[in-house]
Symmetry: C2
Subunit: 369 residues, 2 copies
């Protein structure tokens, strides 16, 4: 039933599992492409389905600003609005409120802010965020949290995490869409004790799943991986664990090695718009002059639509003359590359070969020994 999380195999800390949601089952570890404004940029639902994308992330803040809850409500919720029948996770809007908006005023009830689009005064707190996510009808809603700046002092972090925990308790009690799961978010920056205490208090409240938030905000990779370990260690092992905003392929594998089940990031789609192709051996700029007459595909051996139908020379041409199709083809490829990577990761865990697989990915993607 909805909310069930089956752990079917483990390999070290890594786990292969199945999360049951109102719109179907998600195999984990899973990478969620981001559909900020009710679309994964340039792609259609049929494209995502064809690449075995299991679940999307969409952004409550952006959908609140445009088109707003009235329109999405009138259209029957986010799934029907965007024509996507598979699971959706919505963030709470907290991250965007603290990173995109101006003239913020924070109170115990939430944050008043000016929309980054038209300056309109809006308010988002735990009650409002959960109400918006209920209208969206996402399968997984995230608690509204404060995203403290990096770096923050331990004193500020303590106060911030206390507020995030009070808000989590409020979120937990709000009405939900039918079958909607709610995940708590662990904060605490690079302070392991604060992260551990936050995680324990969230676990005591009892959520359907737990996220590690406030990571990958500018800290060095070893710090990032320590933060993930510190957060995950104190979260319930029988529930899904999600690291927000993580997209580097090696880091996805490192997170899985620490017991993480879910990740999301704009990297594969955003880098496509910048002309970068991800491959199983690292990323490269397709616009480079070296490829101008190259008739091989963007990634030799790849089975995506882009690689089976077009040459690097063609994709490079499209990008260089500003044709939208170039971005679309590269987005298709990058998402396909990520999905193939995650499928292989799950198979490695299932077959007990995760450790050598991880070593191989480090070597291929980073050239490390």
């Amino acid at each position: 039933m909805t909310g069930d999380f089956e752990i079917l195999a483990t390999d070290g800390e890594a786990r292969y599992g199945r999360l049951h949601t109102a719109h179907g089952v998600v195999e984990t570890p899973v990478f969620m492409p981001v559909g900020t404004q009710a679309t994964v940029k340039t792609l259609e639902p049929r494209d995502l389905e064809g690449m075995d994308v299991q679940i999307l992330l969409s952004n409550t803040y952006h959908l609140l600003v445009r088109p707003g809850p009235d329109i999405i409500g009138a259209c029957g919720g986010l799934h029907r609005f965007m024509g996507w029948d598979r699971p959706i996770l919505t963030d709470s809007g907290g991250f965007q409120v603290f990173s995109l908006t101006k003239l913020r005023k924070m109170t115990e009830e939430g944050v008043a802010f000016n929309s980054h689009v038209d300056g309109r005064r809006l308010f988002l707190g735990p009650v409002e965020s959960m109400a918006m996510q209920r209208v969206l009808g996402s399968d997984i809603a995230m608690c509204f949290d404060e995203c403290p700046p990096y770096p923050s002092t331990p004193k500020y972090m303590e106060e911030s995490v206390a507020r995030t925990l009070r808000w989590a308790a409020v979120c937990r009690e709000q009405p939900r869409a039918e079958g909607q799961l709610v995940f708590g978010i662990d904060q605490g920056g690079e302070f392991p004790e604060i992260r551990a205490r936050c995680a324990r208090e969230l676990a005591a409240m009892g959520f359907d799943g737990y996220a590690v938030g406030g990571v990958s905000v500018g800290e060095a990779e070893p710090v990032l991986l320590d933060e993930i370990s510190a957060g995950v260690r104190h979260l319930p092992a029988d529930r899904p664990r999600y690291v927000m905003g993580l997209g580097d392929m090696v880091q996805l594998a490192e997170a899985a090695a620490r017991g993480v089940d879910m990740c999301d990031c704009v990297m594969p789609t955003r880098h496509a718009r910048n002309g970068s192709a991800f491959t199983r051996d690292g990323a490269y700029p397709v616009k480079a002059g070296a490829w101008k007459s190259d008739t091989s595909p963007v990634e030799p051996g790849c089975t995506c639509y882009c690689c089976t139908h077009f040459s690097r020379a063609y994709v490079r041409h499209l990008l260089n003359v500003g044709e939208i199709l170039g971005v679309r083809l590269l987005t298709l490829h990058n998402i396909h590359c990520y999905m193939a990577f995650m499928a292989e990761m799950r198979e490695a865990i299932r077959s007990g070969s995760f450790r050598p697989w991880l070593a191989e990915q480090r070597r291929r993607l980073r050239g490390a020994e």
Copy 2:
């Protein structure tokens, strides 16, 4: 065989035919979507094939500037470069040379000009245009012609048409890609006698087909239709007749009523980028606030992917927030609408009901009695 043109039915001056090219048969009257830079903007070959697009137009001038003949040649020609196996017609570059470039210098051999992209000095004349079209490997190449400004004096038009005819004679003798057809272009502006003489002289040279060029350049619709009639009347009835740059749906039908077999225009794709949906009952702006919560499709009853999967409210949202997918969905719809219109036109000619069909289109699209 290649170049065969079978006229299988007529209804008044309108004809239903089949043109055989090196990449397959084209049923006429046909509308050719425009793939200026080796792509119909936002669409993939599979999208076009799925909507029964029979033939594309691509622009020699733009492909000469970027990526240039060396790259397309190295990639095996335009069909292989862009992954399109069906017929392609290429224009000569004449229109763009005379409309887009600066510091032009015209001689008997052609036109020296500065590229509109990087200012590079280039030269295009009948020899160079046909050589470029040979590299592209298009199924139908167009003669390099002068596109005189509108309005022009009769004296200038006489001189211009004399030059266009000398250039046509040169084009006719150039080496061709295998199976490539070459069409002559009738010029003469709004002067029926000059158009008639140009048409007769082209016919005497003997081309695989004939175009009426230099129309729809700012003149009123009655003048435009008279120009088409004046051009068509003196062109060989047993060869395909093509009006360049015509895209208004009523005008497509009016052209067919005057014996025209082929048209092309950027209208369905360009209007999509401006947020306009074409329907069988006229165009409308999808961005309008009236549609903000409208759950009906862009064109009720339409069977395209956009209309069978998404609401006006969703497409409007995508356009309003600047999501590429909005333009893509509307481009899919607009091309589908044009293809359905042309299929119906062919059926009307075949079944002898073209006249009432044309009257119905005038009424539906223009509200005329």
